[in-house]
């Protein structure tokens, strides 16, 4: 029997579990040069804000051992131009679309949700709450259960009952399970784990922080053990909440690791910078690995590492 490689996330079905990661696939156009976007489970768009954003000054990146720092600062055209240009184009390609939104205030999230409410052709919203909350001394929404829940419940109220909400959490917290629990109570249908870790590189020639904004987000294989841990912990605590996993996935083995920890789908981010077709390769390799392990359905592998030590092994 052949493998059913489709997955379900927050009530939606996707033909396969490999997605792009927000901010790591441009508008989709750039990658469509290298492969057909419909070959992926979904395209997750770069987090969009209400207004056009220049992002931060350069240098915006620094390579680190098995990873990189970025401080793009959410450069983008703003929601109106995004809905005018990017979404129709992706829809024309036949790609499944997950729109990522980001705000600086709770009201921002409300506005964005209302703008997206009646847009057709979107499979889900990914709500990036790893942004500084300008109303709360710049503290990141995702760093506090209450402000995280605030942002999510606001989206829930404004988006209506249709579109699934995936809350994207930051790993830079003392207790990620409490944040996860809080946003799920606030109406999140799924969780995206993990966003980047806060890091810094100092240029030992100039003897100053390398990035113009000093700190940046650490991504890539270096952080994979943190992603696996976060996904495992959250899946153990909230086994029914679907997880979109990400963090350092560069091959099928890596994706499988996140799936076994509890991810129902996996986004490929930084790996795409080193290899434009990384996501397609990850997808193909993961499919083979699932088959080799004798599973008929991808969904049986989700969270499989949680089974009891003495559980009967899968035949």
């Amino acid at each position: 029997m052949s493998l059913d490689f489709s997955t379900s996330l927050a009530g939606r079905r996707f033909p396969n579990p490999i997605f792009t990661a927000s901010g790591c696939a441009g508008s989709g156009k750039e990658l469509s040069q290298f492969f057909d976007l419909t070959d992926l489970g979904a395209i997750v768009t770069k987090s969009i804000m209400i207004k056009p954003r220049s992002g931060r000054a350069t240098p915006r990146m620094a390579e680190t051992p098995s990873g990189m720092l970025n401080s793009i600062g959410l450069q983008g055209p703003g929601i109106d131009l995004f809905l005018e240009n990017d979404i129709p184009w992706l829809r024309d390609q036949g790609a499944r679309i997950i729109v990522s939104i980001a705000g600086e205030t709770v009201e921002d999230y409300a506005v964005l949700a209302r703008k997206l409410r009646h847009v057709s052709g979107i499979s889900a919203l990914e709500v990036n709450i790893s942004c500084p909350n300008v109303e709360n001394r710049g503290q990141v929404f995702a760093c506090d259960p209450a402000t995280a829940a605030d942002a999510i419940s606001t989206v829930r109220r404004n988006i209506g009952g249709e579109l699934p909400i995936i809350a994207k959490l930051s790993p830079d917290v003392t207790d990620i399970v409490s944040i996860a629990t809080s946003v799920v109570s606030a109406g999140a249908d799924g969780l995206a784990l993990i966003n980047t870790l806060l890091g810094m590189v100092i240029d030992t020639s100039s003897m100053r922080p390398k990035l113009s904004q000093k700190t940046g987000g650490l991504s890539g294989p270096a952080i994979r053990p943190v992603a696996v841990r976060a996904i495992y912990q959250v899946h153990a605590a909230l086994p029914k909440v679907p997880i979109l996993g990400m963090g350092g996935v560069a091959c099928g083995r890596d994706a499988l690791e996140l799936v076994l920890a509890g991810a129902s789908a996996v986004s490929v981010g930084t790996a795409t910078f080193g290899d434009p077709t990384a996501s397609i390769r990850v997808k193909n390799e993961l499919e083979v690995l699932c088959e080799q392990r004798g599973f008929n359905s991808f969904s049986d592998l989700v969270g499989y590492a949680h089974r009891a030590e003495d559980a009967n092994e899968h035949e």
């Binding site: 441009g26 750039e30 990658l31 056009p52 220049s54 350069t58 915006r60 970025n70 910078f273």
Partner: protein, 289 residues
């Protein structure tokens, strides 16, 4: 934005496993030749390649960009790409230490190329350090179009001037400057350019080199009201337009200044449209600031 349709983003780019056919030390640099497909036929002067570095268990997750020095198809049909690589940090040191017969993962051709005038014009090509690399192929193309080509190459010291004999064929004059005076005129390229522009009645400048040099050339070009196409060098994480790390503030056709990706809307850009800034801040007036 200048770029309109998605079909225009690196339409000829290919990702291939490429064998190193030659790797020779020339002054401070390594001249390296790579076996490629007939993508070589599509590479234009100014395009770059992106190479994965460090081997299969590499801790370096990002590619390195290199300007194409020459691209050609050998008589037997084998496509060739030639690069000039300075061993500086871990990635380029790894690349230059690869041996003939070793293979690398390479994507090319990427980015914009130098605009070639349809009429014969008097051109000045200016390169800083390994920035001379893309200029020789450009010189050939310009020469073939009947253009006059003068060249200025500058570096800190003689060993960092890359100017092989065969590369200089198409050049009417070559002026060299070094900071330490070990070759040519002691000083910077900007010291000698104004006189060359005047003497030769230069109509267009092409440049490639460190950002500070490009900025200085832009000022001179603007003061003489001469066109200036420069190949910029910003840190690039992806090289294919998906990461937004490589941006510069560039004046758009719609009158806005936008943080523009130098990997797909560059590396060759119109110098006068770039807001050159040494501060680590977004300049005033940039769209979305």
């Amino acid at each position: 934005m200048a770029r309109e349709g998605w079909a225009m983003i690196n339409p000829k780019a290919e990702q291939i496993t490429s064998e190193i056919l030659s790797n020779k030390k020339v002054g401070s640099y390594n001249h390296m030749v790579f076996a490629v497909t007939d993508l070589a036929a599509h590479a234009r002067p100014g395009n770059f390649v992106a190479i994965a570095v460090g081997g299969p268990a590499s801790s370096m997750v990002l590619r390195r960009a290199f300007a194409i020095y020459r691209s050609s198809i050998r008589a037997d049909g084998q496509g060739l790409l030639e690069l000039v690589v300075a061993a500086s940090g871990a990635g380029s040191t790894w690349l230059t230490s690869q041996k003939v017969g070793d293979t690398v993962d390479l994507i090319a051709p990427l980015g914009t190329s130098f605009g070639i005038p349809t009429e014969p014009v008097r051109s000045l090509l200016i390169g800083g350090g390994y920035g001379s690399a893309p200029l020789f192929a450009l010189a050939e193309t310009l020469k073939a179009r009947g253009c006059r080509v003068d060249m200025v190459l500058g570096a800190s010291t003689a060993a960092k001037i890359y100017a092989p004999l065969e590369g200089k064929r198409s050049v009417s004059s070559l002026t060299i400057t070094t900071d330490d005076g070990s070759a040519g005129v002691q000083g910077r390229v900007s010291d000698v350019i104004p006189r060359i522009i005047k003497d030769n009645d230069v109509e267009i400048i092409y440049s490639c080199g460190p950002m500070a040099m490009l900025e200085a050339i832009t000022k001179i070009a603007d003061s003489f009201d001469v066109l200036h196409q420069c190949s910029v060098e910003e840190s690039m994480a992806c090289g294919i337009g998906v990461c937004m790390t490589c941006v510069l503030p560039v004046l758009q056709d719609d009158g806005t200044i936008r943080m523009t990706r130098t990997c797909i809307d560059g590396p060759v850009m119109d110098g006068s449209k770039v807001t050159w800034t040494t501060s680590r801040e977004i300049p005033e007036g940039v769209w979305g600031k």
